[in-house]
């Protein structure tokens, strides 16, 4: 008889249930299967009504983040073999509202992400005839780490500050703000400072550090936030000591 593993999967059907429940499924165990493969097996063979998000199944799209045995994980990169003999519990990303089964509501994150202007801001675009904006490898290296973020929101699911105060702008949004702040082509640092320096910006962070630990792309949002606290403090003292320079 082939080996199997039991999955305990969150079910929440808002038209039927007030609260999420668990449903168990027995799926074949294969060494090369990740949790997402098991979910796809359930969807295809056992229960077509199970809802969850996924797309690329190779750690790039950031869609398949879920809680696997209580830890925020990309299910496409989490092997079943690590959870043998099971059972393994699959839940929607915590601290987010649940829409259905394993699907969370992410509009809050999208709005916050947009608020930090995660794109290159120029005061003045230089004419096309002057060519591209050049950048040295060293300049690229200063922000490259932060640019690896795939918006999978695992860091939000690891952040107790976000859990306790959903107004907190959160790890990924701040790391991405830093990605553009440190880009030599960008001139939007001052516009972002107003958003990030609010209490719900960087100051709500208490440096738990879990965001960095769960990040599948080694972005280090915790580092980005602490570094920005230093920047913001320097700016504060600068404008305090030299008020004529503040706008």
């Amino acid at each position: 008889m082939a080996e199997t593993i039991t999955l305990e999967v969150t079910r929440y059907r808002p038209e039927r249930e007030r609260e999420p429940t668990f449903q168990t499924y027995e799926v074949p165990f294969r060494k090369d299967w990740v949790v997402l493969d098991a979910l796809n097996y359930i969807k295809d063979r056992l229960d077509g009504s199970l809802s969850y998000r996924w797309s690329c199944r190779m750690g790039v799209c950031g869609s398949c983040g879920m809680m696997v045995d209580g830890e925020p994980k990309l299910t496409c990169a989490t092997f079943l073999s690590g959870y043998m003999p099971g059972p393994v519990r699959v839940e929607p990303l915590q601290y987010f509202p649940v829409v259905r089964d394993l699907v969370i509501e992410m509009t809050d994150f999208m709005v916050k992400l947009k608020s930090v202007k995660p794109w290159i801001v120029r005061q003045e675009e230089k004419p096309l005839s002057e060519g591209e904006y050049l950048q040295t490898p060293d300049q690229l290296d200063t922000y490259k780490q932060f640019s690896m973020c795939i918006n999978c929101m695992l860091c939000y699911a690891a952040c107790p500050v976000y859990a306790l105060d959903p107004r907190f702008i959160g790890p990924a949004a701040i790391a991405l703000a830093q990605r553009y702040n440190q880009d030599s082509r960008d001139q939007g640092a001052e516009e972002r400072l107003d958003i990030l320096s609010q209490h719900e910006g960087i100051w709500a962070c208490t440096f738990v550090g879990e965001c960095t630990k769960v990040c599948p792309k080694n972005v280090d949002p915790a580092g980005a936030i602490q570094q920005y606290k230093l920047t913001s403090t320097k700016e504060w003292f600068k404008s305090f000591l030299m008020p004529w320079r503040a706008k």
Partner: protein, 138 residues
């Protein structure tokens, strides 16, 4: 972001779990974090203890001798041992989190973490040695 979190207008009846008051006890990493934060209480305790000692010192040799005798109470010894533990937790976590907060770049490269942690330890040893020498030399 001063208004409540925004969700899509025509959302279904989504479910939002309440965060437990004991959220920090659910995960070892969270518990370590809370212990680290609580170390601040013992830092404050030390400041108060120091101020009491300065007051006794200002009160003359008898007052200071009384303070020294008071410090021998078992309950204070126990409290001090506990405080020392937490103060060490603070010192070690502080040194090791330093490289995260400071991204020092030299010659176009980020300075490796241990090169930022190491000077902290050296400064710690130097400061401790100087204080011990000042207080212990005869």
């Amino acid at each position: 972001m001063n208004e409540a979190p925004v969700y899509t207008k025509y959302h279904p009846r989504w479910y939002r779990a309440r965060v437990s008051t004991y959220w920090w006890s659910r995960r070892w990493a969270y518990l370590k974090f809370i212990l680290r934060e609580l170390s601040s209480i013992f830092v404050a305790y030390f400041a108060i203890l120091t101020l009491l000692q300065v007051r006794a010192l200002g009160g003359g040799p008898e007052a200071y001798a009384r303070f020294q005798a008071w410090m021998k109470a078992p309950i204070l010894i126990a409290l001090n041992a506990l405080s020392l533990f937490f103060v060490l937790v603070h010192a070690l976590t502080w040194f090791h989190l330093a490289p995260k907060a400071m991204a020092v770049r030299m010659r176009g490269r980020r300075v490796p973490d241990f090169l930022i942690v190491l000077p902290n330890y050296i400064a710690w040893l130097a400061a401790s040695a100087i204080l011990a020498w000042l207080l212990l030399r005869r």
